[in-house]
């Protein structure tokens, strides 16, 4: 893998099956098997033959309608999901914000959740404890909320804390999935600043967003995904334009139809 690349994706396909049963229980499975019913499964081809190189220091925006495979792609780069075919090589430390939430225990305080999340991502206890104050400061929660149980937070506060954890882990590669919708205008400006700063430090950011203005403003490269395939890659303005045209017309541009 060349040194200047942060992520190299070669002919990546991700396929998985989901159960269509209302309840996945042992009892149902046994009953179904005993009645010789096939369990109702649907195979989802989330990503199909995707090849992409992302150099260090770039900000890549990923646009596409729901179900295009954007989140699956992000999870695969993070190492949470595994490729069905192909190869993903990642050069550097990853920080993710894929599902909103820092830790996972609602009855623990924000501070405890930050520590748990950091430990799970492989930081030592001293490292994460030294960062906790910065994270709390960046999230800028109202007085004392950082030491209250997370279940008392508003959804905006929750989103701010999650975002703050993700950007303050000093990642080489930052994966953000719909993370910028959280927080008010002031916080948005702050997060943009922080992301520009990360860029200046030659860190790589991947953003999945439906807020197209964000993509054009922050990214220097964008891809458009549609039903698992990458339709186009290029300057964010052009990609967003084409995507918008598609959204308004509802059909794919003629030059993509054969794909």
């Amino acid at each position: 893998m060349p040194e200047e690349l942060a992520v190299r994706i070669e002919d990546l396909s991700i396929t998985y099956k989901v159960s269509l049963e209302s309840k996945r229980t042992l009892k149902n499975a046994l009953m179904r098997a005993s009645l010789r019913q096939e369990s109702r499964m649907r195979t989802i081809e989330a990503v199909k033959h995707l090849t992409l190189d992302i150099p260090h220091g770039s900000v890549l925006g990923i646009v596409g309608s729901n179900g295009a495979g954007k989140s699956t792609l992000m999870r695969c780069i993070a190492g949470i999901l595994t490729p069905t075919a192909g190869r993903v090589a990642v050069n550097g430390k990853i920080s993710t914000l894929l599902a909103l939430g820092v830790g996972f225990n609602q009855s623990l305080s924000g501070r405890d959740n930050i520590i748990l999340g950091g430990l799970a991502s492989g930081l030592s206890k001293e490292e994460i404890e030294s960062k906790t104050d910065d994270i709390a400061k960046f999230a800028d929660l109202p007085d004392g909320f950082i030491d209250l149980p997370v279940r008392t937070y508003s959804s905006g506060m929750y989103g701010r804390l999650s975002f703050s954890v993700a950007v303050n882990m000093t990642p080489d590669i930052l994966l953000l999935d719909e993370a910028l919708s959280a927080g008010d205008a002031a916080f948005k400006e702050k997060s943009f600043d922080r992301m520009r700063q990360l860029c200046a430090e030659a860190r790589t950011i991947l953003i999945v967003s439906h807020a197209l203005a964000t993509v054009t403003e922050l990214c220097d490269e964008a891809i458009w995904m549609h039903k698992g395939t990458m339709l186009a890659q290029g300057k964010p303005e052009n990609i967003v334009d084409e995507y918008l045209k598609f959204l308004n017309v509802g059909t794919l541009p003629s030059n993509y139809e054969d794909m």
Partner: protein, 457 residues
């Protein structure tokens, strides 16, 4: 015995008539009253101590009811089950001291088994139209058809060098991670365990935080962890004394045996039960981050151990007070034998952790595993030498101690805490065997499937 015979006769009649009736009315509605009445006979027979009769009844009922529906698989299953109960009963009834017959354990085992049988019966009822090949295929991997495309149960990426801490602004020559599908069901184990070891602090901190969240500002909460098995032990003791018609001549020895058994068993049970839920409850963290998922059940094991430790001083307190109240109570005294205790506890911990991994995996695919687990652990407790003394078993019935994953360890536990006697080689090997076997099986199931969890949560 008379009632038992009446039960047997009635059972035979019911059985005979069931053949005819079921042949004519193969409807599910029939099963409900049939189960109820047979259940009543079954229980009556137990209450009179006629275990053999009861086992016969159970077998007869299953055989007739299911022969009628042509379910060869269920018949085979029920017959094997019935035969096992009958064998167990005859062994217990034939044992020299025969004391186990009088303990509530035997009774409760049968009641729980009956409940489980009823559930299984309804579940397996439809296996009649099943070919053996299909049954085999169904049981081979958990869930049969539910794996991701590509045929392998889990295609696990390398953990190599994941998120190793790196100072800011370092040049980007850090380890490159490559994610590729691979056909082997297990990931490379050495990097996996290295990652596990690197993040062990996460597991201990998670256990500590969970403890904190659960009992935040509630003193009775923490006390409850000790009070619950203590009170339960006393209740069981009272029941045993009543059924036996008075205490033995050894004072409160039996209570002590019961308590140390219950405390230790609770440690294993908590590990298994909370470990089994740890993955399904760990949603956000699993969706957001890549880390060895074994850390979550491991943290539950640590939490269970932290809750187990304070029960030991409580046991010693009960022992001292018991000896003071009733001087006949056996007082083990201190000897080198107590050096075995850490070994036994470690074996119990590993056995329970292995089982927790197994059930945690099952729970991801079948969300009712937890409900079934409550039955399993209860039967497991009655089958363990807690309510009865290991010395109650003789001859080949001693096998019961060894087919139970916690049997050897609990026997050893009681032998040291109560009798202060040395362990036999069989017991030590039994402890080791179950620890290794359960870790190997549970670990294999869990680790080979854990990359699938993020999709299924």
């Amino acid at each position: 015995m008379v009632v038992g015979l009446i039960g047997a006769t009635a059972g035979a009649t019911v059985g005979a008539s069931t053949v005819e009736t079921v042949l004519n009315f193969l409807t599910a509605t029939f099963f409900v009253p049939a189960t109820f009445f047979t259940g009543a006979f079954f229980t009556t027979a137990f209450l009179t101590g006629a275990f053999l009769t009861a086992a016969f009844l159970a077998t007869a009922f299953f055989a007739t009811a299911f022969l009628a529906t042509g379910a060869f698989f269920v018949v085979a299953f029920a017959a094997a089950f019935g035969a096992a109960i009958a064998l167990l009963d005859s062994k217990i009834a034939g044992s020299k001291s025969a004391e186990i017959r009088a303990t509530p354990a035997a009774l409760l085992i049968h009641l729980e088994l009956f409940k489980l049988l009823t559930i299984l019966m309804f579940t397996f009822r439809n296996f009649s139209r099943h070919s053996p090949a299909r049954i085999k295929r169904f049981f081979s991997p958990i869930g049969g058809r539910g794996w991701p495309a590509g045929g392998t149960c889990a295609q696990i990426c390398s953990w190599d060098g994941r998120l190793t801490p790196m100072p800011a602004n370092q040049d980007f020559v850090s380890k490159v991670q490559v994610f590729e599908p691979h056909k082997a069901s297990l990931p490379p184990l050495i990097p996996y365990f290295k990652e596990f070891w690197n993040r062990r602090v996460f597991a201990t901190e998670l256990a500590r935080f969970n403890d904190k969240a659960e009992y935040l500002g509630s003193r009775i909460g923490k006390a409850w962890l000790i009070l619950n098995p203590l009170l339960l032990g006393i209740v069981y003791y009272v029941v045993i004394v009543i059924i036996r018609g008075g205490s033995d001549n050894d004072g409160l020895t039996r209570l002590n045996h019961l308590l140390i058994g219950l405390f230790t068993f609770y440690f294993a049970q908590t590990t298994v039960m909370s470990g089994a839920q740890s993955i399904t409850l760990g949603g956000r963290l699993i969706l957001n981050q890549a880390f060895p998922r074994t850390l979550l059940p491991f943290s539950c094991a640590i939490q269970a151990f932290r809750q187990f430790l304070p029960t030991i001083p409580v046991y010693i307190l009960v022992l001292i007070v018991g000896n003071w109240i009733s001087p006949a109570t056996k007082f083990a005294g201190i000897s080198w034998n107590f050096l075995w205790i850490p070994f036994i506890i470690a074996c119990i911990a590993f056995t329970a952790f292995g089982l927790a991994l197994l059930f945690a995996t099952m729970n991801v695919y079948f969300r009712d595993t937890n409900k079934i687990l409550t039955y399993i652990t209860r039967i497991w407790m009655y089958l363990s030498p807690i309510l009865w003394l290991p010395s109650a078993l003789h001859g080949s019935s001693k096998l019961l101690l060894y087919i139970n994953p916690l049997g050897p360890a609990l026997t050893a536990n009681s032998r040291i805490w109560i009798d202060n006697s040395a362990l036999s080689l069989n017991i030590v090997l039994g402890c080791l065997f179950w620890a290794v076997a359960s870790m190997a099986i549970g670990g294999y199931f869990f680790i080979s499937r854990e990359r699938d969890f993020a999709i299924r949560i």
